[in-house]
């Protein structure tokens, strides 16, 4: 996780998270993602390298159409930015949305 301060004095945290569940970031995982993102006051954005979208909008997140193995860059900016990034990392990489990973 990287941290810096923006011009307004808000903390900015960033992390690269990999989608690990087999079916990718489909509707239900997208819902879990935005539900968590919406709990925080910080602004959260997600980028797949091409598009940068609002992490609190299910429409925008689902339109990233991130499949298993995709790396997403998550950026949080605001008073609770650090905790937001941490919680989202647990959801995406540790719990992988409570869904199975591909068989090796």
């Amino acid at each position: 996780m990287q941290a810096e301060q923006d011009s307004l004095g808000n903390v900015v945290y960033e992390a690269e998270l990999e989608i690990k569940n087999t079916d990718g970031l489909h509707m239900r995982p997208a819902m879990q993602f935005v539900d968590i993102a919406n709990r925080f006051d910080s602004e959260i954005s997600v980028s797949n390298g091409e598009t940068n979208v609002d992490g609190k909008s299910i429409m925008q997140i689902s339109m990233l159409a991130a499949t298993c193995g995709t790396k997403l860059r998550i950026k949080a900016e605001g008073p609770d930015a650090r905790e937001a990034i941490n919680t989202l990392r647990v959801l995406v990489e540790e719990k992988h949305f409570d869904e199975p990973e591909p068989k090796k």
């Binding site: 079916d23 990718g24 489909h26 509707m27 239900r28 997208a30 819902m31 935005v34 539900d35 609002d54 909008s57 299910i58 429409m59 925008q60 689902s62 339109m63 159409a65 499949t67």
Partner: protein, 579 residues
């Protein structure tokens, strides 16, 4: 000004502002709004979202499923989308910048998102498109549902423009404010057309892409007499149509007053006017227009409106409903006339190279005995309810007639064995609509109680002309000397054999042919119900002497063109407004 041609299904003329109803299961056409309407449309989007959320929340709560189940998840996902501000903003921005309707903005935005998903290779992700379409429909239902309710509370006169109208929708129209109906889909016999006719609302259907040309509030002329709809007419056209409309209303009014009067010529010859119907509801129109019964009850609709073959009970119920309306007035039920142009039912009958000369009508029935017997049983059961007659279509020779009668007899025996009541003396007749039947009418008359001349098919088969083929359709005319001679032959043979005779083709509803038919010796006409008053007016204006003179003159003429113009002139003298 845009002029569109369709099928006239309910007569009359109306000029009013349009009210456009879109359908959620069809592409919403792009329609513009005025800048001043932006806020109204944006508010409509907000309300639609609010109500869709309310509806979904209720649905979700009603699901008897544990939290986290697949179904609960689907509801939850849809709710997240409906709460998503950026989605709503995308839609309202579109209304703002492009000046389009709420329906169009919702549909375009969601379809854009859906197509984004369908492009993905990953099937799991591409299947999300289905969820998005589902949301689109839900929102459109909200938007359109409100609009449909608004029709119930109209405050000004409108012409309703829609892709398609259901019979219940049409039946709910307030005829004080709904002055006209125009739809992309539909046909003469679509239920909505029939309801429009019985409500007396001018209607034109089968306009194909009319909804793409009309924006809510545009001035629209519906000409239900000629089957024309004009969008945004110029001043001159509006004036012209106001004139037409006035003349038409005057004529209608005059004809309305003769409803109770008998159809008798000035010199006292009584003519029977019956109605041709397809649906039970139409029987009411027959009575409303002063008809004395039903001379042709077509039964194909029972087969064409459903995917499965109708049961005996389906048949019986339809007949019983019609009979209930008609009371003790006669009704001639024609056995099913499927095939050829009505060949729409199922693809399981392999297409024939020449369907009009193929397995259609009675021929089809004689090869599908189960189906035929089902209908005959229902007609026989209904025969105890009132004066029911049975009529076989497209008979070409005596053998066919005898076969059909034998099957009818078998069905009677079956009913007898089951102790089911029927009228054993039910009258049996045939349609004369092929040259072979017309030429052997004298023989056929021995085995039937009545003839009904179907002039449409008789003309087509006599002249070997497909009236639907515009390359040759000018050759199609019941005024052709060959057709007229056949009609005269049939009339003479029916009289000699002392059996009943009627004409039930379109010829019987065309004013210029009435004097001729009477002069030839026809005393019963069965026609489309809305035309009954006009035809009665003609009958009441002529003497048999005039008619006989016309017939003698016409039958001595050798050219269709001369006959047609002679008949038009003769009729114009009788009822100038009708031409």
């Amino acid at each position: 000004m845009e002029i569109k041609k369709g099928i006239a299904v309910s007569p009359g003329i109306s000029i009013a502002k349009s009210l456009v109803i879109d359908a959620e299961d069809y592409r919403i056409p792009r329609r513009s709004i005025k800048p001043s309407q932006r806020m109204t449309e944006i508010q409509r989007v907000r309300n639609a979202f609010k109500d869709a959320i309310g509806e979904l929340t209720q649905l979700e709560a009603a699901q008897d499923q544990p939290e986290g189940s697949k179904i609960k998840d689907i509801f939850a996902v849809h709710l997240r989308f409906l709460h998503d501000r950026s989605l709503r903003k995308k839609i309202t921005d579109l209304i703002h910048s492009e000046l389009v309707t709420a329906e169009y903005a919702v549909s375009t935005t969601l379809r854009q998102i859906a197509s984004h998903f369908t492009k993905e290779k990953d099937t799991y992700i591409s299947e999300r498109a289905a969820d998005i379409y589902d949301m689109e429909r839900r929102l459109l239902r909200q938007l359109l549902g409100k609009k449909r309710k608004d029709i119930g509370n109209l405050k000004e006169e409108v012409v309703v423009v829609a892709r398609e109208l259901s019979p219940t929708q049409t039946a709910g129209f307030n005829r004080k404010f709904v002055k006209g109906i125009a739809s992309d889909a539909g046909g003469r016999t679509s239920h909505a057309a029939i309801v429009a006719r019985s409500l007396g609302i001018p209607a034109v259907v089968a306009l194909e892409d009319l909804t793409e040309y009309v924006m809510g509030g545009d001035t629209v002329i519906v000409d239900g007499n000629r089957g024309i709809v004009i969008v945004n007419p110029d001043e001159q056209t509006v004036q012209q149509y106001r004139e037409y409309s006035k003349e038409y209303l005057e004529l209608e009014h005059r004809l309305g007053t003769i409803r109770e009067k008998p159809a008798v010529t000035r010199d006292g010859t009584k003519i029977t006017l019956l109605g041709n119907i397809e649906f039970p509801d139409e029987a009411e129109v027959v009575l409303e227009k002063g008809g004395a019964g039903v001379g042709l009850y077509r039964t194909e609709f029972l087969y064409l409106n459903t995917d499965t073959e109708p049961t005996e009970q389906d048949h019986y119920q339809a007949y019983a409903r019609t009979i209930r309306v008609l009371g003790d007035r006669p009704v001639v039920i024609r056995t099913v006339d499927l095939g050829a142009d009505k060949y729409t039912q199922s693809k399981r009958f392999a297409p024939e190279p020449n369907p009009f000369l193929g397995l259609r009508s009675i021929r089809f029935c004689l090869q599908n005995l189960m189906m035929f017997k089902t209908q005959l049983r229902a007609i026989l059961r209904a025969s105890v309810l009132s004066d029911v007659k049975i009529m076989f279509p497209l008979i070409t020779n005596r053998q066919e007639l005898m076969q059909a009668k034998m099957i009818l007899h078998d069905v009677m025996e079956d009913l007898g064995e089951e102790s089911i009541e029927y009228n054993p003396d039910i009258q049996v007749g045939i349609m004369i609509e092929t040259p072979s039947a017309a030429l052997t009418a004298y023989t056929l008359a021995r085995d039937v109680d009545f003839f009904s001349i179907g002039t449409n098919d008789l003309t087509q088969y006599t002249l070997a002309v497909d009236r639907g083929n515009e390359l040759v359709s000018t050759l199609y005319s019941p005024a052709d000397p060959a057709v007229l001679r056949l009609i005269r032959t049939v009339t003479q043979d029916a009289h000699k054999s002392q059996i009943d005779l009627s004409v039930c083709g379109e010829m019987a509803s065309e004013p210029e042919y009435i004097m001729l038919l009477l002069g030839i010796g026809i005393r019963t006409l069965s026609l489309t119900p809305p035309m009954i008053p006009e035809i009665k007016q003609i009958i009441r204006s002529v003497t048999m002497e005039d008619c006989n003179k016309v017939a003698r003159k016409v039958l001595s003429m050798n050219s269709e063109r001369h006959i047609s113009s002679y008949l038009r002139d003769a009729a114009r003298k009788i009822l100038p407004e009708a031409f």
